[in-house]
Subunit: 145 residues, 2 copies
């Protein structure tokens, strides 16, 4: 992974160390991280702070032109809510750590014109697999199944 | 509008009185409001707290079974992010105040199996039209155009 993929992974590790769901994300504009985040379901009792949403929130209010020159990195394939946020802000490219534990909306994003790279990075995959095995109910809650 | 549509409208009015974007939403489960919210872009400097997201957040962590028996009311047709949240949580029905100022993702939601009622309620329409006329840049920021 490049430095931004690593930064997203560090966010996922941070969430795990907080007792949360280990998914991390960063929003990158012109080669700089402008928002970092991780899943906060446990930490904040949040139903909407998936990692990607947290990164977008932490990036603050930005003009449309910023999002359209940005890349969103996430350790796990985005759910419908996070994919929708990517479409709202027309972020042209998404880099995904892994899409094996959760297929997510990568195909839908591609159909809507977003460039999607799936790395299948073993550290992302292993961290999430271990988490799902250990906390299956929490994981199910996060994807509402 | 029924009492829940009215409650969403009151949320929109509340946002306006706070200097914010006048869009409101409530999440209803078994005939009771379990989450109310309004757009908080201005109030909290938020990029993700659209009205529907705020209502979902204020409903707290809920099991999948609750969302699947719920109805989401919103004064304006949902954007891709909010539509995605509806799909994530498989909320089976959405009641929309108006879809003239913003077409949103009503058609997409229907394609994905969500029941969508569009009321074209004149008070929702007029409030939003007046707001967009008065604050076009803020409105553009909210839908990232």
């Amino acid at each position: 992974m490049d430095e931004f993929g690593e930064a997203a992974f560090v966010e996922a590790e941070r969430s795990l160390s907080e007792g949360g769901i280990p998914i991390g994300s960063v929003l990158v504009w012109k080669g700089q991280i402008i928002g970092s985040g991780h899943n906060r379901r446990v930490q904040k009792g949040s139903a909407i702070l998936h990692a990607e949403m947290d990164a977008l929130e932490n990036a603050g209010r930005r003009s449309a032109s910023v999002y359209r020159e940005s890349v969103l990195y996430t350790t796990l394939s985005p759910c419908p809510m996070c994919a929708g946020a990517i479409l709202l802000y027309q972020i042209p490219k998404v880099v995904i750590g892994e899409a094996q534990n959760f297929k997510g909306e990568a195909t839908f994003l591609r159909k809507r014109g977003i460039m999607v790279d799936i790395l299948e990075e073993h550290r992302c995959l292993e961290m999430m697999t271990r988490f799902i095995d250990s906390f299956p109910e929490l994981w199910k809650e996060d994807i509402s199944v």
